[in-house]
Amino acid sequence: MADNELILTNVTKRFGGLTAVDALSMKVSSGQIYGVIGPNGAGKTTVFNCITGIYKSEEGSVSWRGEEIRGMTPYQIVARGIVRTFQTIRLFSQMSVAENIMSGRHIKSSQGWWHGICPTPGSRRDEKENWMKVGELLEFFNLEEFAATPTMSLPYGHQRRVEMARALAVDPTLLILDEPAAGLNDNETAELVDTIFSIRQKGITVLLIEHDMELVMKVTDYLTVLNFGKKIAEGTPEEIQKNPLVIEAYLGSEDEDDE
C-alpha cells in the first residue's frame, strides 16, 4: 500500500490474429503525469481498456498497489481508485450535468439498495453530502450554470469537462484520460493543461493518451511510446523528442495518415 504504483508486466492483448498490445511493460509511479503516445492504431486505448477492466489481457500482469487487477471487472477497478475518461466521450447524454457528475459519487455513497425504496435520515444526509461534492466539482470545472442542462445539448469542450468532473467525483488515486484534448480549441486546451496540473496538485496520479504533442511535452513527466502494440521507447519528454525511433514512427505514420 505504500506506493500507489501501477505496474504493467508483459501485457499482451490479441484480437483474433491481431496482437493489439504486445508484451508491454510500464510503471506509473505515484504523483506522476504519465503519457502514452503513439501513432493511430498503436494500441494505446487497448492498453487503457486492459488496465480499466474493459478487456482482459491474455497474458501478463496489471498490478496496482501490489494487487493484481487483471481480470477484475471495471467497477471493481474503480473501487480501487482507478477511473477513466473515454476518447469518444461517453456521458449519460439525456441526463443533466449534475446528475452525470453525481454518477461518480456512486461508489462513495453510503446508501444501500433499500434506501431506494425507503429513505432514512442517514441516506438523506448522504445524498446531500454527495450533491455538495458535485457542487464543488461544478465550480472547479466552471460548469455551475449548466448544472441542470442535459449533457447532449452542451458543446464538445464542455462535455469533455463534464467527463473529467465525473471521473474526479470518484476521488480517484489514478485518473486515466483518453485523449482529453481531442476536439478542443486552443483556449480549451490551455485550460486543460491548467486543469491537469491542478488535478495533480490534489495528489492524483494522471495517466493519459494524447495526440497533441505540444500538450504532452508540456504536462507529462514521463512517456511511453507505442507503435504496432509494442513499446518502442520510454523516457522523459526531452529524451523522447530526441529518440530516432520515435521520430521515424511518427514521420512514417504521418505519410500514411495524409491520404
Binding site: V83, F86, S96, M102, G104, H106, H115, G116, P119, E145
Partner: protein
C-alpha cells in the same frame, strides 16, 4: 413543467381519493382495475423505463403474486393478510433467479426470453403443476381481506386497499429517483459501459430492478386475486405483458404518462364497450401514430432531478 407535474399529481390523488363515492358498482370495479394495472405498469416502468431492460414478461410476476395469494388461501387456509408478504417475496426471488443469467443479454434477446418465461408460466398454470393451480379454470372462492377484524369485501374497501398499494408504489418510484440505486438504473440504461467504468456494478442493479419490479407486480397480483376472489391463467397471458410494455413506452415512462397509458388501455374500452371488437385494432394504430408523432411517448420522463442549490443563474459576462 416540474410544478405542473406536482400539481397534476396532487389533483389526481385527490380525485382518486374521493372517486369510489361518485361511481356505481360497475365503475368501482373498473376503478379498482385501473389502480391495480397502474401498479403493474409502474413496476414495469422500473424495469423498462428506468433500467432500460426490454422485459416483456411482467404479467408473469403479476400472476405469480395473484396465484400465491390464491393458493395459500384456498389450499392451505392462510388468511389473505398473511399471504401478502409471500406474494411479494416469491416473485422477487423468482425474478432474481430468472434475471441473473439473462440480464446481460442484448435488449431484443432479453425480450424474447422474458416472453418465454411468461409463456412457460401460463403453461405451468394451465397444466396444473403440482395440482394446486386449478388448471385452465384457475382458483375460485378466495377469502376477502380481513384487517383488525373488519372484512374488506365491498368494492369501496377494495378500492382503498388498491389505492393504498398505488400510493406505496408511487412513493417508491419517487424515492427511487432521489437515491443512489435509482440513479444507478438511469445510468446503466443510458450507457452501460460508462456506468460500469464509473464504478457501478451494472449486473447487480439490473437484477435489483427485476427483483423490485417483480415484487411490486406480485403485490398488485395479490390485490387482483382479492378483488375478484378468483384467479385464472388467461389474465396473465403474455399479451398482458405486451400491453404493459406498450403502456410504459407510449406513456413516456414517466408516472403521469404511465397512468394515462393505463387509463387509455384499460378504462377507455369500458367506456366504449360496444366497440370492444375494435379495441386492439384501434390501439395498434394509436401505438404506431403516437410513436411517429412522439417517439419518446405522450408524457416523456424528464431528468434533472437535482437539488435546487445546484441550479445557478448564468454568470454575467461568463
Amino acid at each position: 413543467m416540474k410544478k405542473l407535474s406536482i400539481v397534476s399529481l396532487l389533483v389526481f390523488l385527490l380525485v382518486m381519493a374521493i372517486l369510489p363515492h361518485l361511481l356505481d358498482p360497475r365503475w368501482q370495479t373498473v376503478a379498482v382495475t385501473f389502480l391495480v394495472f397502474s401498479v403493474v405498469a409502474l413496476s414495469q416502468d422500473i424495469v423498462l423505463g428506468k433500467a432500460g431492460m426490454f422485459n416483456m414478461g411482467q404479467a408473469m410476476f403479476f400472476g405469480m403474486g395473484a396465484y400465491v395469494t390464491a393458493i395459500l388461501n384456498s389450499h392451505f387456509g392462510w388468511p389473505i393478510m398473511a399471504t401478502i408478504p409471500v406474494a411479494i417475496i416469491a416473485p422477487v426471488l423468482v425474478g432474481i433467479v430468472l434475471a441473473a443469467p439473462i440480464v446481460h443479454l442484448r435488449g431484443d434477446y432479453l425480450l424474447v426470453v422474458t416472453i418465454g418465461f411468461n409463456i412457460v408460466f401460463v403453461q405451468v398454470l394451465i397444466n396444473n403443476l403440482g395440482g394446486v393451480t386449478g388448471g385452465p379454470n384457475g382458483i375460485f372462492g378466495i377469502d376477502p381481506l380481513r384487517l383488525f377484524g373488519f372484512e374488506l369485501s365491498s368494492q369501496v374497501a377494495i378500492y382503498y386497499y388498491a389505492f393504498a398499494v398505488l400510493l406505496l408504489t408511487l412513493a417508491i418510484m419517487i424515492n427511487l429517483d432521489k437515491s443512489k440505486v435509482g440513479r444507478a438504473l438511469h445510468y446503466l440504461r443510458e450507457d452501460p459501459l460508462a456506468a460500469e467504468s464509473i464504478g457501478i456494478n451494472t449486473r447487480l442493479y439490473k437484477i435489483f430492478a427485476f427483483g423490485l419490479g417483480a415484487g411490486i407486480a406480485g403485490l398488485a397480483g395479490s390485490v387482483f386475486a382479492t378483488q375478484y376472489s378468483a384467479v385464472s391463467p388467461e389474465a396473465f397471458e403474455f399479451i398482458q405483458s405486451v400491453l404493459f410494455f406498450s403502456i410504459v413506452l407510449v406513456g413516456g415512462s414517466s408516472i403521469p404518462g404511465v397512468l394515462i397509458g393505463v387509463f387509455v388501455m384499460f378504462v377507455l374500452p369500458e367506456i366504449f364497450r360496444e366497440f370492444s371488437t375494435w379495441r386492439f385494432f384501434v390501439f395498434g394504430f394509436a401505438m404506431i401514430l403516437t410513436m411517429i408523432l412522439r417517439p419518446r411517448g405522450i408524457w416523456p420522463a424528464t431528468f434533472g432531478k437535482i437539488p435546487k442549490f445546484l441550479i445557478k443563474e448564468p454568470k454575467n459576462g461568463g
